[in-house]
Symmetry: C2
Subunit: 319 residues, 2 copies
């Protein structure tokens, strides 16, 4: 199959009006007056970010959702994406399922395919998405804006995907709870509903993709502040709680492992009530886990006795 045939069969039907049916070699994207265009880029490699034998529609959805999650954290509304796909085979059934996975989230999130490139690789499948979103002009929620005195919130529950990965790898075996956690690993839920609350009430936000501990540490560092976090307040799902029991190593994995795709936000105390109210209205749970302090030392993570805890590996790091 030529690259053109492949595009015509599987990807052109996914392109929105601005994708020009993928007949052109470029696309246009614009922000309406009074808006900025936010760009973010996340790439996934088989064997690193997903399993090559994960269902193709799930892989496609994950590639979009990790990017949608970034847009949500910036307070942005999805606008469209460009897809670079490196394939090591040209398998009709796989491509059909992959395109179906894209199509599902293109429709669900009003997030059209604008263009891209499809190349052959002798290596693992790789998917690189450049995503575009819209925010009112000058209003993108930065990662760098946390201020001393802010309250730190996370959305949803933390650690499900990291434990789901252990289950997926066979390192733990947790039955029904394990299945829930694997589903959370395979199929992240980008918190798009939270975008307006962040836009209006957050000093800083980011999506938690490389582990709560590492990502929170990073947000404090780039904001020039530090924080105190109460680990007992980190929200956990019933499944995660059941799987971890009292195992400290699994807890460490839950708060430092990757793939949460929840939102970490830094909110001024006087904005907290409004933030919580909007979150509740859109049906996304948010939990206060600590607060921001002046200073540049690393954040302190406190256990139930208010003793500082350290993590050997604070983050899922690729290098």
């Amino acid at each position: 199959m030529s690259e053109d045939d492949l595009i015509a069969r599987f990807f052109a039907p996914l392109a929105g009006a601005e994708g020009l049916g993928l007949l052109d070699d470029a696309a246009l994207v614009s922000a309406p007056p009074g808006h900025d265009l936010v760009i973010t880029c996340d790439a996934l490699v088989a064997g690193v970010h997903f399993f090559e034998n994960d269902p193709a529609d799930t892989i496609a959805a994950k590639a979009l959702r990790v990017n949608l999650s970034d847009l949500a954290a910036k307070g942005a509304k999805p606008r469209g994406f460009v897809l670079a796909l490196a394939l090591n085979k040209s398998d009709d059934a796989w491509l059909q399922a992959f395109a179906r996975g894209l199509k599902g989230d293109i429709d669900a999130f009003a997030f059209p395919l604008l263009g891209g490139d499809t190349v052959k690789t002798p290596g693992p499948l790789m998917i690189s998405v450049t995503a575009f979103g819209l925010v009112p002009e000058g209003r993108m929620v930065p990662r760098t804006g946390a201020r001393a005195g802010d309250l730190l919130y996370v959305s949803g529950t933390i650690g499900d995907a990291a434990l789901g990965l252990l289950e997926r790898q066979g390192a733990i075996s947790a039955g029904q709870a394990g299945a829930h956690l694997v589903a959370r690993y395979l199929h992240p839920e980008p918190r798009m509903g939270l975008a307006p609350a962040l836009l209006n009430h957050a000093h800083a936000a980011m999506d938690i993709s490389d582990g709560l501990i590492g990502d929170l540490t990073k947000m404090m560092r780039v904001s020039g502040v530090t924080a105190e976090v109460r680990l007992v307040d980190v929200p956990l799902s019933p499944a995660a709680t059941a799987v971890m029991g009292g195992d400290e190593a699994l807890f460490a994995r839950a708060v430092s492992g990757g793939d949460d795709y929840e939102i970490l936000a830094s909110i001024a105390p006087e904005e907290a009530q409004a933030f919580e109210r909007i979150a509740e209205a859109v049906g996304v749970s948010v939990t206060q886990i600590g607060h921001v302090l002046a200073g540049t030392s690393p954040p302190r993570f406190l256990d139930g006795n208010r003793q500082a805890v350290s993590f050997v590996s604070g983050s899922f790091s690729h290098f």
Copy 2:
């Protein structure tokens, strides 16, 4: 080295003001009033699009230039890019040279790094660039706009890179001429200077990346027209002419092989003189090689005796 260290050391220094020093997880890009933002995306894989042992600065420059070439063909002025990089090792000297290669063209083309993602791969090095350019509103030069009666032009010379690849692979050995051709393969020259001429005078344009024969055929098909091309008029460099001698197989390779990164443009006869004049003023040679005809049959490629020639493999195809 953590991903953050790697970004801080090698890539943050390359980021423009809008890249926010790569401290944020997203960037902003905007088109000034009265302009559209053009997006294009080209990905390169080691062993497919370049040799893993090509100089790292050359690989970096090529990844940018194949995208800049797309922008030029759309009549666009470079605006910036997002880089997704999949690395299989973390080698200081290589990364330094790669960053130096990026920096050279970031400066040369006023083309800032806006953001990106760096991931690990067990496979070959892969570089995916999403490039942004600016055109006056509604004026992007399409690939789909060729009209019967138009004249077909190409920039520069055709086939140098395809023959350079043969030299690089050791399939031919052509001394001084070979070295020139290898340089053309390694280091494409995006025809940015031609963008204004295309914007003002072309009905359609594209960059020739997959071979003149295949790309011209594609442009006619998506425009709903056909063409007649005089192969004796296809511009060849002295080096290519010397290397080919009278070898028809090498000539076929030259006109159907990839990596030219020259421009193919479809120009109304009454605009041809103005187009040629601007091209000359900016120092880019352009050559008329044929004309567009009504009809949807494949284009005809004529030899010196006006006999139609066919090519076994009309295009460098990835699948």
